[in-house]
Amino acid sequence: MYDHNNGQVVIVGGGIAGLATAKLLSENNFHFAIVERSYKLGGHTKDWACMATDNCNRCHSCAVFDYEEFVASSPHGEIFLRHELFSVTRSTSGISSVGIRCIDSGAERELPVTALVLAVGFEPFDPIEKGFWGYGTFEGVMTLSDLNRLMRLDDLNTIRPGNGDPLNLAFFQCVGSRDKTIGADYCSQYCCAAAIRAALRTIHQYPDSKVTIFYIDLQIAGKTAQALMDKAQEKGVRFLQGVPGEIQPIQDGGLQVISEKDGQNVVERFDRIVLSIGQRPSSSAIAISGITEAPLNEFGFFQTRSQFDPVRSPLNGVYIAGSCSGPANIPDVAMNAGKVVSAIIKDIEQTI
């Protein structure tokens, strides 16, 4: 077995990827230091809502609480909130130390490093980039994260029509994903299942709600895929292939879109339209790539060595965890963290 002094791993990013990695490192006798820009741990996941309909629907958003509690109370780690990476010192085998700086005070400190893990996460696509969905202009257009925020605050009632009519909700899939024009020619992995869960959650709370999901291709892999689809169909979620290109506000405060039915264009009205926004590379990816020299790939995510070596950066001593190497959902991130720690253990053993 390993000794308690396996060295210190510095993790850049305190979202679910950083936390999951820190937990496994700590459990395997490593010291860890998490460097997080914001005021809190947990990243995007911390703001997401539970999607249970009395039964857990496997959104896994609660996992972050378990990770955070473990990490925050671990005697093997340090957490630097409001800090950022500003320098690295190289050694022959990789990286020997990093410089971090407090964003508020500017105070700097040096941390010795056995391995450096980049877990800077993703940036949610901002639909304002593509004006024609009217996000930010039309009141009824919101993103999947906006909807999550409402659910988290238990404010779903605020989007129901005031006159007591049932809520008529639509989801647009692949917003900012599979889109060459914005350099995002990839599937964002999480959004199909997330939209279906949000649809089920809405119907669970307000059973008279009508929900339509406009999709290109449904990408729901894994154990729950079929069960989730069956449930959605049972609850009357309507799936329509093809995402309308435009949203128009109408006088009654609703939104109208042109969709296709049997080769004919039909106009449909919705109270609200939820844009299932994709994952873009983190806003700090370029800066961190510049500091560390860990290369980015064609999409702007951190490059890894190969499909078979998906957690090591081509740069020795640097590991890529979670969605900063490509879009991922929570279970993927949890699994990826295990692979990161496994690679670190293996590499250290080989250098000893």
Binding site: M1, Y2, L24, E27, N28, N29, W48, A49, C50, A52, N55, C56, R58, H60, S61, C62, F65, D66, E69, R152, D154, D155, R178, D185, Y186, C187, Q189, D217, L218, Q219, I220, A221, G222, K223, T224, A225, Q226, A227, M229, Q241, D262, F301, S306, Q307, F308, P310, G326, P327, P331, A334, M335, A337, G338, K339, V341, S342, A343, I345, K346, E349
Partner: protein
């Protein structure tokens, strides 16, 4: 165990630092390599098929390089042949009995067997075969049709694999058709692969509710075509398109394989909706069971993706190393106590979701032994023990007695007691302010709330009791929250008409990120307890 050591490189003498891998194919090899690379001792028991059902979408050259590297990393660790017939938790891990009758102790056990795919749907011609990782091979230059999403959505890994083979066949000079309802573009490079296949001339046809028709051509004349395929493409005109091709392969999803008896019995409470092992619960990420030290990787858990299986193997190995590290560390405190009231009914052993309670090998009054490392203090056993012989040392029965005493004397008639699971309600409460008449009492798990605690609480002057457990399927102890629900139903049945007069009691479920909803649930319950309808 000694024999085993003589024949291979195992040097481990403490069973608690060892891992057993059961399986015979690529999955098992990846798990063995993963365990080896985190420094645990590994024993490999060969069981089941050695032909892999793992699909991948990378080129053959990379795959072969991967296989070569994998073989290089594999230690020689042959163990007993055959599958475990019995896996019994014991203090130092698991006592595993094999087909041959021999028994060994292991700190952790991994199920890593290969899988099976469903047979091709019966309404297709008999010559249509299922897509497997090595059939069709890309080297066969012909006109090949891949039929995906036929009657159910094809697993995206099988879909992506098909697109890769279709592309390779097209590049080699063949013709490839892919019939589908959902293009599998999952993964960062999924879209790139799909795009490359389209550019190379692979014909993608998207059908709707009308299924494609596949006919066997009975009298092939000049051409070698053997099938006629007719499909209505909903993207193009919607009109039916027909073409001939040499062979048709259909995507068939995995089904659950014959499991070794030992695993089937141990994990009988832990299957997902489709019967695959280990739930997709948030507590079972990375292939771990609720039984500490037990892992399932690959097809037996429903996964037929090579990369995902590789990731799970690595994660499960790291988790096992962490678990054994923890289990081997000196433990300062006993989490549970067993009194002389124990009549050896073994209910607790049967119910523990974590394999934390084992039979005491040494003769003693109680006969059961509680593992400090495995016990997560859910208290399901404490609540169900017919002799109240068990207690959690950190969450004593006495604490409930004190609460009840307090309720008898101090409370006013509008008091509402909320019992909340520490993991969900106990966290959510930090973000809300409770109404003044509400007493919140955190419990280690809703499964700890015995009927006697609930009855005694009801018998005080409280207006109502609200139990907040975790959502079904989200309980850290698998079914603790369900125990609370069932006990409530039992009580209502038993108390019959009395129920409701003595007080109001309700059970709801919650997650840690549902603070706002928690407050609404409490307020709604409060209103109904006072006869105000919401």
């Amino acid at each position: 165990m000694l024999n085993l050591h003589k024949n291979n490189s195992l040097s481990c003498t403490v069973p608690n630092q060892s891992a057993l891998v059961v399986g015979n194919g690529l999955t098992a090899s990846m798990v063995v390599a993963a365990i080896n690379s985190v420094g645990l001792d590994v024993t490999h028991a060969r069981f089941g098929s050695n032909s892999s059902t793992l699909f991948h979408s990378c080129d053959n050259e990379s795959f072969i390089t991967f296989l070569d590297q994998l073989i290089e990393q594999l230690p020689t660790v042959e163990g007993p042949q055959g599958g475990p017939t019995e896996i019994v938790p014991c203090e130092n891990g698991f006592l595993v009995t094999f087909d041959s009758g021999e028994s060994h102790e292991f700190g952790s056990v991994f199920l890593a067997i290969e899988g099976t795919l469903k047979p091709a749907p019966k309404d297709l011609p008999a010559e249509v075969t299922t897509i497997t990782p090595d059939r069709p091979t890309a080297s066969v230059v012909s006109s090949v049709c891949f039929l995906l999403d036929y009657k159910e959505i094809t697993n995206p890994s099988i879909g992506a694999h098909s697109i890769r083979v279709a592309l390779e066949n097209q590049i080699a000079g063949g013709h490839s058709f892919v019939l589908l309802r959902q293009t599998p573009v999952k993964g960062l490079l999924g879209e790139t692969l799909y795009e490359a296949a389209r550019l190379a001339g692979v014909r993608f046809l998207r059908y709707g509710t009308k299924l494609p028709k596949i006919e066997r051509l009975s009298t092939p004349i000049e051409s070698s075509a053997r099938f006629k395929v007719s499909v209505a493409d909903i993207i193009e005109s919607g009109e039916e398109i027909s073409f001939d091709c040499d062979c048709v392969f259909v995507g068939a999803n995995p089904i659950i394989e014959r499991l070794p008896d030992g695993f089937r019995n141990l994990l009988s409470e832990e299957t997902d909706q489709q019967g695959f092992l280990i739930q997709d619960s948030v507590h079972c990420l990375t292939g771990k069971s609720f039984h500490k030290g037990v892992y399932c990787v690959g097809p037996s858990s429903g996964c037929v993706d090579l990369f995902e299986t590789m990731m799970t193997a690595a994660s499960a190995a790291v988790d096992a190393a962490a678990w054994l590290n923890f289990a081997n560390a000196p433990q300062s405190e006993e989490k549970m106590s067993v009194t002389e009231q124990c009549i050896r009914c073994l209910t607790c052993i049967r119910l523990c979701p974590h394999s934390a309670i084992t039979l005491n090998a040494e003769a003693s009054r109680s006969n059961v032994k509680v593992s400090t490392v495995r016990c997560v203090e859910c208290g399901i056993c404490v609540a169900e023990c017919p002799r109240t012989a068990l207690d959690l040392n950190n969450f004593l029965e006495d604490s409930f007695s004190s609460l009840i005493d307090r309720l008898k004397t101090e409370t006013s008639e509008d008091t509402i007691v909320v019992f909340g699971c520490y993991r969900s309600a106990g966290r959510a409460i930090s973000e809300i302010n409770l109404p003044g008449n509400v007493i919140f009492f955190p419990v280690s798990c809703a499964g700890r709330l015995s009927e006697s605690i609930l009855s005694a609480t009801l018998a005080t002057r409280v207006k109502g009791i609200l139990i907040l457990g975790c959502h079904h399927g989200n309980c850290r102890s698998n079914n603790g929250t369900d125990w609370a629900r069932v006990r409530l139903a039992n009580m209502s049945k038993r108390l019959g008409s009395l129920f409701g007069k003595v007080g109001v009691i309700s059970y709801k479920t919650l997650a840690p990120n549902e603070s706002a909803r928690m407050l609404r649930l409490i307020n709604n319950f409060s209103s109904s307890a006072f006869g105000i309808s919401d």
